[in-house]
């Protein structure tokens, strides 16, 4: 990108065009003020990761807004408790800001524990709690003793970083929940599945595959998880990590603390799914498992490949722009689009890491625009410049795509259809087809 063409200088270092220049993309910096960043806050990141713990009481310590905007907005499914779908807030008022909110927090926990009897409470700190200096640790500790349950503070004050800092805060909370002791008993064919939030039942789909392979899912982090299952996590013999942005840190820590090895996997798209299942089978080794895995792969691919190819015919040669939360998802999407004949011409993330951007750069074609922490002006400009036919993004990006006359794929946490595994790959192709090939676009041309 030539320097003069961007209105805002601070943003230059975060945008590159593959092949044009050798410079490295700068990511993981603070958002430029005033640029209408699409990024969310630390609390948001922490909440994304912990929210699917179904029987936890999720208490937001802060003013009402932070809790209001996050009430039941995600599509994580539960096989048991529904408590996680409620939004609790200490609803701090002016006098709490002046005199401190500790007492109110303590009373709130008492009141809510009495009413809901949760085995576990997460207390999220928000921006102003970080400023007024409430001692979350102390209040939670005392409450835990009073009620004889776990009350875990999540250090998610919004201004201490961006969404990825929130992932880390959430992982720290989970580590605390599991405790420091390595559990002696280890279940041999048992896996923890990290980085699936059971959106539209995705974790269930993958668990079914693993079961068919003769393996057992110990617990998913954190889709459809419960207190009881989470504390038994140290017993698994392997961790598989999907959403690396949020869970890589946890996997590393669990290897350190409990000696559980981990594999990076991806269940987005047919190729990644197949490769991941094989990798897992390989790890366990036994010929029984390998054979079952191959059978599973065969049945599933036989079923879905013709369906996906059916859509591919209509999609070949279209161009996609991608703007998603993390690097892992971005990487998977490049491959997944290739499976249906679509090229990615612009790609960016809110919180991708350096190594992920390198992978992205290796995967995309010459001329593709790669950008970190984009804003609507940049999305608009590059989508138009590159002639993108569709955009992948979240709720905020959707209307922009539509105003530009481009198709749109919802790849966010509120979606209500699974995109994981073989079933998900078909859904993805169908969704792309339903938006790209909709009759409505032809009326916009006139």
């Amino acid at each position: 990108m030539d320097a003069g063409s961007l209105a805002v200088n601070e943003r230059e270092k975060s945008i590159i065009v593959k092949g044009k220049q050798k410079k490295q993309l700068v990511c993981d910096t603070d958002s430029a003020a005033g640029c209408v960043s699409q990024r969310a806050c630390v609390y948001c990141g922490a909440r994304v990761v912990l929210n699917p713990v179904t029987d936890a009481l999720h208490l937001v310590h802060g003013p009402i807004g932070c809790a209001s905007y996050t009430w039941d907005i995600r599509g994580s499914l539960s096989s048991g408790s529904e408590l996680y779908r409620s939004s609790f807030s200490t609803d701090l008022q002016e006098e709490d800001i002046i005199f401190g909110g500790e007492k109110k927090l303590a009373r709130a926990i008492d009141e809510l524990v009495l009413k809901h009897h949760p085995p576990l409470v997460f207390v999220y700190s928000t921006c102003i709690v970080g400023v007024i200096g409430d001692d979350l640790e102390a209040v939670c500790k005392a409450a835990a003793q009073r009620h004889n349950i776990q009350v875990i503070p999540v250090q998610s004050s919004g201004f201490i970083g961006n969404k990825s800092a929130g992932y880390r805060a959430a992982c720290n909370a989970l580590l605390r929940l599991m405790g420091p002791e390595p559990t002696p008993t280890r279940n041999l064919n048992s896996i923890n599945y990290l980085g699936d939030f059971n959106l539209a039942g995705e974790a269930w789909i993958i668990s079914n595959y693993l079961r068919q392979m003769g393996l057992e899912v110990n617990v998913t982090f954190t889709g459809d998880s419960r207190y009881e299952t989470l504390i038994k996590a140290p017993r698994a013999s392997l961790n598989i990590v999907q959403c690396a942005g949020s869970m890589h840190y946890l996997a590393q820590k669990m290897r350190e603390l409990y000696g559980i090895p981990y594999l990076n996997v991806s269940f987005l798209g047919v190729l990644d799914t197949t490769a991941s299942l094989r990798m897992i089978a390989e790890h366990f080794g036994g010929s029984g498992i390998k054979q079952k895995t191959e059978e599973l792969i065969k049945t599933e691919t036989d079923k879905v490949i013709p369906l996906i190819n059916g859509y591919r015919g209509n999609l070949q040669g279209r161009k996609a722009a991608v703007y998603v939360g993390g690097g892992f998802k971005a990487i998977s999407l490049i491959k997944q689009f290739r499976e249906i004949g679509i090229d990615v011409v612009m790609i960016g993330t809110q919180t991708g890491r350096q190594s992920e951007y390198e992978t992205i750069n290796d995967l995309v074609d010459e001329g593709t625009v790669v950008l970190d922490d984009a804003n609507p002006s940049e999305l608009e400009r590059f989508m138009v410049e590159k002639g993108a036919h569709l955009l992948v993004g979240g709720v905020k990006e959707r209307p922009l795509a539509y105003k530009l006359g481009a198709a749109f794929i919802d790849h966010n946490h509120d979606r209500k259809h699974p995109l994981s595994g073989y079933e998900g790959a078909v859904n993805f192709a169908r969704e792309v087809y339903s938006t790209v090939c909709s009759p409505v676009w032809k009326y916009l041309k006139a």
């Binding site: 601070e10 009402i64 109110k104 921006c127 970083g161 709720v395 905020k396 922009l400």
Partner: protein, 458 residues
């Protein structure tokens, strides 16, 4: 009345309100060529944009000064100024709203000083900065809306020669509602300034090429001259004097104020035309008289079905007040009337919805959905009327929801819902009546069978 204020409770469970800056953004979207920057951390802006984008299905660009740890400790002035620089470069707005958030207020940022320094510093005279102090913890979105509306007028209006226009100040109603009010005024050939006018900006037609700041909104010049108008009609009886824009114009420029409820319902719409007559001397046009007649006809047609309604109404105090009126006019019993707002005026509004003939009404101010739910159960509510978060009542208690207000994030077309005027009231009432009918038809066969044939029902 149970007035649950923050002082009495320690935790909110499933909030029935949003925070002040959220409400403060909306009026700025009703000003021509305007943008908003929130002074605080990035997250607040992102959440609010998301919330609004879901409701309006429009791109909602709101900037943030993106305070980080350093800015929070040493003051965020530099961030805010840099943010303004970037915002101007990217959007070239004519007006910028600078709204605080919890964080900025807590660390004590003086946005007025920063704003005036900034203008001087950069030597800018083609952009107006409007500062609005809206700590999220200071009130709900409803108060934030009025505060921003008043601040915009206070900042942009100036002494102007008397003109023949009338000011119409609208609360947070839908773009379709604003369009309907404009239609009525145009039909009556009344010269007006309607503010804030987000009827086009938050429900914009598809056009190419895309415009980053959508076309529409009340003109800056028009706002400046609101001071010289013949009168102000404000649909905002729940805005307290200190945050009421109509009172500002009256107190500062002597513009007579006619403060009235939202013209939803027969009585409230009659009131609008009475006020219009008083201010302009003009009578209701023939065609509107027919609309009124059609509404009357419809009210009669559905009155027996409506009689079965036991409603729970919740949301913005101003809207709740108007909806309670519609219910009462049509024989629907409003047994639970609630708002999340904790303001005194909100409580007053809720109180004034009390119906003498409903002895055990639940009137809740400063409340949340967990409590609304309990009251719904106690009072055997069979229809809920309010924004989308009421779907919780549907899911948990099987109470059908008629969607109106903000946010509507789980259905399409929240921005197109029409409820004001005689025609709007008719469509709104039909939505209510038909929801009651649908419930009835869904349940009556097996209900009666169980009761009389198998005798199973108690």
């Amino acid at each position: 009345m149970e007035r649950q204020t923050g002082f009495a409770r320690n935790a909110a469970e499933n909030p029935c309100n949003m925070c002040m800056p959220m409400g403060g953004i909306i009026p700025f979207k009703g000003v021509e060529k305007s943008m908003v920057i929130l002074h605080g951390s990035q997250g607040c802006a992102t959440y609010m944009r998301r919330h609004m984008a879901e409701h309006f299905n429009e791109p909602i660009d709101v900037a943030s000064s993106s305070l980080n740890e350093k800015g929070t400790i040493y003051g965020g002035e530099k961030n805010l100024k840099l943010g303004l620089d970037n915002l101007i470069k990217l959007y070239n707005p004519g007006v910028i709203g600078i709204l605080t958030t919890c964080l900025a207020e807590t660390i004590g940022e003086d946005i007025d000083r920063i704003a005036s320094e900034y203008l001087l510093d950069r030597g800018l005279n083609d952009v107006s900065l409007v500062t609005v102090p809206v700590p999220g913890y200071g009130g709900s979105h409803s108060e934030g809306y009025w505060m921003a509306t008043r601040s915009i007028i206070a900042r942009l209006s100036r002494e102007a020669p008397a003109n023949r226009r009338i000011n119409v100040i609208v609360p947070h109603i839908s773009p379709a509602d604003i369009r309907e009010i404009k239609r009525i005024l145009q039909l009556m050939r009344i010269e007006y300034t309607i503010f804030p006018d987000f009827s086009d900006t938050l429900d914009s037609p598809f056009t190419m090429p895309y415009k980053k700041i959508p076309i529409g909104g009340t003109g800056i010049e028009e706002i400046a001259e609101m001071s010289g108008a013949a009168a102000t009609i404000q649909m905002g009886v729940t805005a307290s004097r200190e945050i009421s824009p109509g009172h500002y114009l009256q107190d500062t420029y002597g513009v007579p104020l006619y403060n009235m409820p939202i013209p939803i319902g027969l009585e409230n719409t009659d009131k609008l035309f009475a006020v219009l007559k008083q201010v302009t001397g003009k009578d209701m046009p023939e065609s509107i008289f027919s609309e009124r007649g059609r509404l009357l006809d419809g009210m009669v047609d559905s009155h027996k079905y409506n009689a079965a309604g036991r409603s729970a109404i919740f949301g913005d105090p101003e809207l709740v007040l108007a909806i309670a009126g519609v219910c009462r006019e049509n024989g629907i019993t409003p047994v639970v009337v609630a708002t999340g707002s904790k303001s005194f005026m909100a409580a007053e509004a809720i109180k004034s919805s009390a119906a003498v003939d409903v002895p055990e009404q639940s009137l809740l101010a400063g409340t949340d959905f967990a409590r609304i739910r309990e009251h719904c159960r106690e009072k055997s509510v069979n229809i809920a009327i309010g924004h989308s978060d009421g779907r919780y009542l549907t899911e948990k208690e099987g109470i059908p929801l008629v969607r109106v207000g903000f946010p509507i994030h789980d259905r399409m077309g929240g921005q197109r819902l029409l409820s004001v005027g005689y025609t709007g009231t008719m469509t709104f009432l039909d939505r209510i009546t038909n929801t009651l009918l649908e419930e009835k038809h869904k349940n009556y066969r097996h209900g009666i069978f169980d009761k009389f044939y198998t005798g199973k029902m108690a």
